[in-house]
Symmetry: C2
Subunit: 402 residues, 2 copies
């Protein structure tokens, strides 16, 4: 078997942790498996490098920032190779130039285009553990790029795809994917398995274990992901194409308080107005989530929608500037709201699920502001102060706990 293992920065923050990772890799290797390890920069290295850059030039070009930041992973991988070597096992570290991890040109937020498997394959064939820098690529100008948030996970999946690995293990500080956040819902259960689509919905809804980019790529190339703990040997959660014999209607509950609601009041009730509002927001790179449109009355209507809390100031500014063109009478907003979602592959074919969710919320006295649904998800917008209570209620309502 060929296994790709990805460890984050905190898993290689010091000598002890480096050797912890090294031992796990050696263990896998000694089972007779081929092992590729993808690493992030050690501990706070990336932040420290950014601080150095900021001290020299607060407006440093993204190209030079990437040149600087990529040294972080190169330090991790070379030290890991030394650690594994000292345990008596051959190992070799490779950076994005050596692996030829071709990416788009965009510095600071590149995407992989193509990964040459030749060098890694060659090293694997000579029975070495191969350690590759995560988070970084090389663009068509032969410059380093970095991948932005969740980059190392994506590197691991991209390499697993290119090498046709049997599994891609993402090591984290949690044991896997849970039916709800265990810090809030004490009886939340670790899932044995979850589909890519469910994972995508959960990730985008605030279960921050895996980034969407990584799951999307895993889905696209059929890479089996395993989320597990770097601290213990517990079995993790497998993320793959849905194939469970016994499908749960609802697999998990997720919340996200990084959301805010904007209401634009009294706009003209004629075709194209809503389009123009969302168009002007999109042009300003503001993503809109749940949308609720009132029925027209007196020739006007209201539209409410949610945006990420980080975008709220930009969104309000853009709307204010275009108030007249967009025929907006008034703009209101609330930041003390949160999203609560249930996710499950078998959900939409069973119309009782939404009712069951609403009942659980009603019984707990939680007010629902907005509702949005997808193939495998039902999301409600609620008051932020109700969030934890609502999560417990819905989790219990579907009997997800242990």
């Amino acid at each position: 078997m060929l296994i790709v293992k990805k460890f984050g920065g905190s898993s290689v923050a010091d000598k002890e942790r480096i050797f912890n990772v090294a031992s796990r890799c050696v263990e896998e290797y000694q089972k007779g498996n081929d092992v590729i390890v993808v690493l992030s920069a050690m501990g706070d290295t990336t932040d420290e490098l950014l601080e150095k850059a900021n001290d020299i030039n607060p407006n440093a070009s993204k190209r030079e920032l990437d040149m600087l930041l990529t040294t972080g992973e190169q330090v991790s991988v070379s030290l890991m190779a030394m650690a594994i070597n000292s345990l008596g096992i051959p190992a070799i570290s490779l950076n994005a130039f050596q692996v030829e991890m071709h990416s788009t040109s965009r510095y600071g937020n590149a995407r992989f285009k193509r990964i040459d498997s030749e060098r890694i394959q060659h090293e694997i064939d000579s029975r070495k553990i191969v350690i590759v820098t995560g988070f970084q690529g090389v663009n068509k100008y032969e410059d380093y790029t970095t991948l932005g948030r969740g980059g190392s996970d994506t590197s691991a999946v991209a390499i697993a795809a290119a090498l046709h690995a049997d599994a891609c293990e993402i090591y984290t500080d949690v044991e896997g994917i849970y039916t709800a956040d265990p810090r809030i819902v004490p009886n939340a259960k670790k899932m044995k398995e979850i589909s890519y689509d469910e994972m995508l919905e959960l990730a985008s809804l605030g279960a921050k274990v895996l980034h969407n980019r990584c799951v999307e790529m895993a889905k696209k190339y059929g890479v089996q992901l395993i989320v597990r703990s770097s601290l213990n040997r517990a079995e993790g959660t497998i993320v793959r194409e849905g194939s469970r014999m016994e499908k749960l209607l609802v697999s998990g509950v997720a919340t996200d308080k990084n959301t805010a609601r904007i209401s634009v009041i009294g706009i003209e009730d004629k075709p194209g107005v809503a389009f123009r509002i969302f168009n002007v927001l999109a042009k300003n790179h503001i993503n809109v989530d749940i949308i609720l449109q009132s029925v027209g009355r007196d020739g006007t209507k209201d539209i409410s929608f949610t945006v990420a809390e980080d975008d709220i100031q930009d969104a309000l500014k853009v709307l204010e500037e275009n108030k007249d063109t967009l025929t907006i009478r008034e703009i209101k907003h609330r930041e003390d709201v949160a999203k609560l979602s249930i996710v499950g592959a078998g959900m939409m074919s069973n119309p009782g699920v939404a009712a069951q969710m609403f009942e659980a919320l009603f019984t707990a006295g939680v007010n629902i502001n907005m509702i949005s649904t997808s193939e495998i998800r039902i999301t409600v917008l609620i008051d932020e102060r109700d969030m934890d209570r609502a999560m417990v209620a819905v989790h219990d309502g579907f009997g997800l706990g242990d």
Copy 2:
């Protein structure tokens, strides 16, 4: 004009010094010149990285050490690009992969084979200051290599050669090459110019401003070197093919106390014995310097020679192990010796020079143990305690001072 400027680690050790270097480069650029900057790792970075490696694995492979160490220069060059950018001038940093600085395979002590000028030329053509990582290359396996001691100087010369630069300026903490060490000979004079060959002799004799590898490469490709201070604007010393109108017989005096003398006593006085002694030393990578062979007597003879003080234990061990085969009766050694040399292009065509040197030493009461000469150099082995006094005497004897 195209100027290559090389700055060492201490010249980029902190923010202030980085900006000092940045300003000098910008100044050159604003004269209308094209500028390539070659940098070492900041301050003690390389030592700190080595320490980290040693903590993980004291027997780390040289391949992984090079992978680790090369991050040091990459940090320097990216920060320098940011600094120059912040002064309003376009700049770009490049590593050994980007420049394609092809080297031999030997990790930790590689040599350049070929440098592709294309990428640098392209960036120069778009009027950027180009900042290149010194000390590192890429070998045929597409792995990083480092060049060993004096590596960054050699990188600068190699780039100057590949790009046909008009000059290669090596910035140091001294103002240039002196007729003798100014700390010992107060009236030592800075030379305006010196030939490659003279510089080579001086470098190998302990005037540690430039490494031989760098001077050899400059000579081979006809790169004009300028040694000057990173701390002030004083004119430095030009190193180029001898072309001075008025040639000084002797251009400088150098000393080297990193030397030790070994005498092997009572070896068989027949052909091949001396050869076998030096052969066994060479096989053990011990370089032998001045050799003095006594006239045979009673069928035996003695051979004395000098080795670097660092090699003395190895040399003694090797000789002891082969004592019988080499027919050695006794091995003696002294470490309290030093070499004193005069160097000058016009020297050997003037037989009076040696006599003049010996007279100066005699007058100063300095005893001469051994003598060795080359085309442009006369070296004597003296007691280490006489070294400074001897240097002053010889320097005065040839009237080299101000």
